[in-house]
């Protein structure tokens, strides 16, 4: 029996401090991303969410170049990016192009910063791909607090946010400040994405944001259920990914470990595909009457 467990959890998995830090931080990111992701998917803002992670990476590249910290670069750029995408793309038709052009402008600068970073430290891989295992443990309490703050703020705007996401016209007619609530959500999304890009790299950020949430919305039509389901699915993918990455140090071809991002993005894609086998009857509501009936979960 010990042999079996040894085969799954390679020696030192539970005692290694880097692994423990990765499990905790990865868990925080997965839960926050899952909760914010449900609204991101619902509101069709996956592109904006992804763009913010890229722009955060541009900020981090610039901050490294200027001798600052990556966390300041990630958070400031993703928040500014979120605000400008929201302000420029007022009409849904414009949103796609607005996001694309803001991303072009910021990523253009970012690629220049990254290019200079390669000359100095060889940093593009770290910024783009990140790694849970190399995250600075000193930042862990701050990042956990930021995650908790984002969740708290989400809880505060929850009801109006549900309303404006499901039936914006009715919400507007009833006097809900649709633009203000939408803008507030964009800022929360930016904080969540900025934080997760810092910890897990910009590519994992998008995956954890929309994958578990899209699966949860497929399985249940009730938002109050979808959020915990998304968080649990995200946790599952993250922790399983960390375990596989840890075990892979003994795998071919070179015996020095496969990147954790490969496992997590693969697992998230698998979860999404599996969720699509779920009977479509349970998918998110199709008529306005059904949607209105479900408001408030």
């Amino acid at each position: 029996m010990t042999g079996f467990w040894r085969a799954i959890f390679a020696a030192g998995f539970f005692s290694n401090p880097e692994v423990q830090n990765a499990l905790w931080l990865g868990g925080v990111i997965a839960v926050v991303s899952g909760a914010i992701g449900v609204f991101t998917v619902l509101r069709g803002q996956s592109f904006a969410g992804h763009a913010m992670s890229d722009m955060g990476a541009a900020g981090a590249a610039g901050a490294l170049l200027a001798g600052g910290t990556a966390i300041a670069g990630f958070l400031s750029f993703s928040v500014v990016a979120g605000a400008s995408v929201d302000l420029l793309g007022v009409r849904p038709r414009d949103r796609d192009v607005a996001t694309g052009l803001v991303l072009t402008a910021v990523l253009g600068l970012g690629s220049l910063f990254l290019f200079f970073d390669t000359r100095i430290v060889g940093a593009p891989e770290i910024i783009l791909f990140g790694s849970l295992f190399t995250s600075d443990p000193g930042l862990t309490p701050w990042l956990s607090a930021l995650g908790a703050a984002v969740l708290l703020a989400l809880a505060i705007v929850f009801r109006p946010l549900v309303f404006i996401s499901l039936s914006p016209d009715t919400a507007l007619a009833r006097g809900v400040p649709v633009r203000a609530v939408g803008f507030a959500f964009m800022l929360l999304l930016a904080l969540a994405v900025g934080e997760s890009s810092l910890v897990v790299g910009s590519l994992l950020s998008t995956s954890l944001l929309i994958g578990p949430a899209s699966a949860a919305l497929r399985v249940t039509a009730r938002l109050r259920h979808a959020i915990p389901i998304a968080a649990v699915l995200g946790l599952l993918a993250t922790w399983l990914g960390i375990l596989l990455a840890y075990d892979s140090f003994y795998w071919p071809p070179y015996g020095r470990g496969w990147p954790v991002s490969f496992f997590i993005t693969g697992l998230v894609l698998a979860i999404h595909l599996l969720s699509r086998l779920w009977p479509p009857a349970a998918r998110y509501g199709s008529t306005t009457a059904q949607r209105t009936a479900r408001i408030g979960g």
Binding site: F47, H50, A51, V97, F115, L203, S207
Partner: protein, 291 residues
């Protein structure tokens, strides 16, 4: 006085060798070809709201290039396989789920695979990293031929699909009622974007090649509303943006993508401002006539 000032600027911008080196001639030729394809395909990409796909496919293609570098194969082959394969994957999975979710997840998994291939490379994968930023040196004669052939294929597909694409993009319901297969059209259009990506990434880089698809077409949409004219304007803007990008990259040694993206954003801002001013003048003119 004026003459020397102008002369200094022009020798600084058009620095020696820019047009005489063989690799630069190849870069100009390739660049012009890809700008024509991107300007044309970008018009439809903008109409169809495909900016996210245009942004995702180059990064997916980058993963293929990293894999090819690991296996000592031609990076361009890996790039083409992954960007066209990614297009097919997004098109195939796009049915029955939100399109932007599918693009995001395929993009993330593609980049995850790219991280895996990069980690398999024993030394610093310079060949793969240069595809991230793009480069103008080292475009070989045979690559120009490959680029031209793929561009011809993409342009032929656009020409063949021109009417149904326009029809299905403007009024999908009536197109479907007339027997146009929206799903087939969608997948074929993604493949066109995939091909455009495969030829653009080596020069402009995976990070920013989408800017050439998004920017010029968006700028053109503010200048004219007729499809044929908009495509023409979009192509001209794309070609000019890429030419400026190549010239400045040659002068400075900085990444082409940075210059192309900056020029494209300026062009878009200029077009939008110009359209706004023209619109205001028009309304002012019509009110004064009424008065």
């Amino acid at each position: 006085m004026m003459d020397t000032w102008f002369g200094e600027i022009s020798t600084a911008v058009l620095s020696p060798g820019m047009f005489s080196f063989t690799f630069m001639q190849n870069a100009w030729l390739s660049g012009t070809i890809i700008a024509i394809v991107c300007g044309t395909a970008g018009f439809f990409a903008m109409l169809r709201g495909s900016a996210f796909a245009a942004h995702a496919l180059p990064k997916i293609g980058f993963a293929g290039a990293a894999g090819a570098v690991w296996l000592n194969a031609n990076p361009l082959l890996g790039l083409s396989l992954f960007s066209i394969g990614g297009a097919l994957g997004i098109g195939w999975l796009g049915k029955g789920a939100r399109r932007d979710v599918v693009i995001g997840l395929v993009l993330a998994f593609g980049l995850g695979t790219g991280a895996l291939f990069l980690s398999f490379n024993n030394e610093y994968a310079a060949g793969a990293i240069s595809l991230l930023f793009g480069q103008i040196v080292g475009v070989s004669q045979s690559e120009v031929v490959d680029t031209a052939l793929l561009a011809l294929l993409a342009m032929a597909m656009i020409a063949f699909l021109y009417r149904p694409l326009l029809f299905a993009t403007i009024s999908p319901e009536s197109a479907e009622a007339r027997g146009v297969s929206l799903r087939m059209l969608d997948i074929l259009f993604l493949v066109i974007i995939g091909i455009a990506t495969a030829i653009t990434v080596p020069i402009v880089g995976a990070l920013l090649s989408f800017s050439l698809l998004v920017g010029p077409a968006a700028a053109a949409s503010h200048l004219t509303h007729r499809p044929g004219r908009a495509i023409l304007v979009s192509v001209v803007l794309a070609v000019v943006s890429l030419w400026v990008g190549i010239a400045l990259a040659y002068d400075t040694g900085w990444p082409v993508g940075f210059f192309v993206a900056s020029v494209v954003v300026l062009v878009y801002a200029g077009a939008r401002a110009g359209a706004a001013i023209a619109g205001r003048r028009q309304t002012a003119g019509s009110t004064s006539v009424k008065a």
